[in-house]
């Protein structure tokens, strides 16, 4: 059994997709596809995305890491400026209306209890920044796209933030920021975030999928519904 930390500063780590917001990265990619620029570009990317849906679903079920790597390739060729502009527009059009009604309350409650608010997501950082600003989070742990000459390569700078890596990222963040991991909170909707939930002292399942609901019941973690 690990010794309780003597540090008192703590954080609340939130997964984003499905936890605070009713979207996921497929929606995000869909938005970019639809805003490609030329008509042919839109049609081509939309068709490619639609055709890939069964592959996405299968990959997501098997391994979120492979899913993410596969998925981010679809960003290749888009310019950095374009992505940033689209991120703002996408937030207004797609993300803001999809924020769960009680998400802000939950974040406020954590802030009142003295927690630093950190979002941890497998999405790309530029897509989540407007949300971070809107919900007044203090920090963001997210994937970063690799650019060459201002153009996205479709590759993510490792390590990819997902699954067990989310737990590592959270642990390292606590060490770096002088936060007590055992007094910190983590919130997620997905069984794929089990490692991140297990690594903190106060895990909570939010709108959980079947796998996470079973885990939360077994480990007697609180279960919230933000919908």
């Amino acid at each position: 059994m690990s010794k309780p930390s003597s540090k008192s500063a703590k954080a609340a780590f939130y997964d984003v997709d499905g936890t605070l917001v009713k979207t996921n990265i497929v929606h995000t990619y869909g938005y970019y596809a639809m805003n490609r620029g030329s008509l042919w570009g839109i049609a081509g990317r939309t068709l490619a995305a639609v055709a890939s849906v069964p592959i996405f679903a299968a990959l997501d079920a098997v391994d979120r890491k492979i899913f993410n790597e596969f998925f981010y390739r679809y960003y290749a060729g888009l310019s950095e400026d374009r992505l940033l502009t689209l991120a703002e527009e996408m937030f207004e059009d797609l993300v803001k209306p999809a924020i769960f009604p009680k998400a802000r309350d939950l974040i406020e409650e954590a802030r009142r209890s003295g927690c630093k608010i950190v979002f941890v997501t497998g999405a790309l950082d530029f897509t989540v920044r407007p949300l971070v600003k809107y919900l007044e989070a203090d920090d963001l742990i997210a994937n970063k796209m690799q650019y060459v000459g201002g153009i996205a390569t479709g590759k993510v700078i490792p390590p990819i933030i997902e699954g067990a890596n989310k737990a590592n990222a959270v642990r390292e963040y606590c060490v770096r920021e002088g936060l007590a991991l055992d007094k910190s909170f983590a919130y997620s909707d997905s069984g794929s975030d089990y490692a991140m939930l297990a690594v903190v002292g106060r895990p909570t399942a939010v709108n959980p999928d079947i796998r996470l609901r079973a885990l939360a019941r077994a480990y007697q973690w609180p279960i919230l519904d933000l919908r």
């Binding site: 309350d105 409650e109 609180p222």
Partner: protein, 537 residues
Amino acid sequence: MRSLKTLRKLYDEESHVVVTERGSPPRVLFSGEDFLLEDLPIGARVIYPRAPLEGVPNLRATIRYAINHPEGMEPLHALLRPGMKVTVALDDISLPLPPMRTPDVRQSILEIVLELLADSGVDDVHLIIANSLHRRMTEAEMRRMVGEKIYRSFYPERYYNHDAEDPAGIVELERTGHGEVVAINRRAAESDLIVYVNINLVPMDGGHKSVGTGLANYESLRAHHNPTVIRESDSYMEPARSALHRSTERIGRVIDRHLKVFHIETAINNRMFDGQLAFLGKKEEDYTEFDRLKLQGLRYTLSKMPRAAKRKLFMSIPAPYEVIGIHAGATEPTHAKTLELCWRQYAVPVEGQSDIVIYGVPYISPYNVNSILNPLLVQVMGLGYFFNLNRGVPLVKKGGVIILCHPAYDEFDPEHHPSYIEFFNRLLPETRDALVLERKYEREFATNPSYVHLYRKGNAYHGAHPFYMWYWGENGRQHVGKVIVAGAENNHVPEILGWQRTDTLAEAIDIARGFAGRSAEISLVHLPPILQTDVSL
């Protein structure tokens, strides 16, 4: 079958105390969702509740008379003026137990009060459930409590649960002379008049505790919901001898100085069972053959049902309580009248204390209506409520033994009691010392954002509530030498609670006698219905 002659010699019909003799019938005890039928040793006392007092013949007339002839205040109609802001606060689902048959007396009072408000040109009216740090009532429970018509008119904008964690929804008044925080619901504090509709089930309820606790927040409750104050209370069911009540009185007086509060307090009788279950309110000596048959049938049926189904069945049987009196007006004179009625119904004179006291713990407590009586609640029933159902002198002697009959199952309701789960599994194995728990962990739980969220948006008890449950048992824990839980189905729950377990009541009595001596005096308190022992030494 025992002859009438034998039965007659066993007890005095008027007495509430029966001494077990050779040939006495076995006693019926609650044990969670089941009934035990147990023979007691010869000489053991069985203490029964008083018979239910007669209900008022015309409830609506009684309500009207009370609000027109209040104690220490002008009549309600004289306090009203058109355009004023009124908040009506209501006791929550923890009262009464089990929930009463519809129409709930709160509905009857509201029908009259709301009509009077409307006729007086008062349209800005909110109904707030004074749930304090208890769970929010569900929509269905809220509808049942006030009836369809009021529910449709007020829910959800003007009929809702108090939220002690809403940063914008709480107002802090001046502190008491003892430095206690006085914080209450903003809507109530900003109203021209607060009408508090109470149900007084036990003497702990009502009076200054209504607004000062029901509409307060965590910081305000800390003044009296703590182990130090509980230890200083001889019994928190006897307000005159309770430091808890002295604190709530100080807080309540500050509230009365700042705000106009018109209390409507109701006292109900102890008629918990009727119809086919009426025999549960009788002495076993009075059972007819048909009653015995019904008991056997009930026990057999329950033995074949899964626990969840039994719980559902019991929770679906409302109690046929009758109102025995309604008083209205200023806090203290109104509550004094209510307490008189409570004691007329509940107080049972008993001569001398006992070394060993036995209680059957039923399926329900104030904190698990429509839910599970988890281990912490078994503890609060035994060492909190039952132990404190006295008028300053506990029934059990100092260092004596309490025997609780309950399966002590390790079951918690994650929706209603999420913080209890962590408290029981993480904190109690570390320490059972209430002072340490308070100092080290209470604030951590109270500010845990997940628990705060579940309290505010779900139907969970506040993160601090399991601590209060543990503090509630503090008097009992400090007083008794041993607690035995008879019929516990596992070892770990009694162990975590610091108790001993046995399979049967007979074994528990044997162990208790080994602890307290072979000549130990034994009492069984035949609850429910509720009674409060008035022990003379």
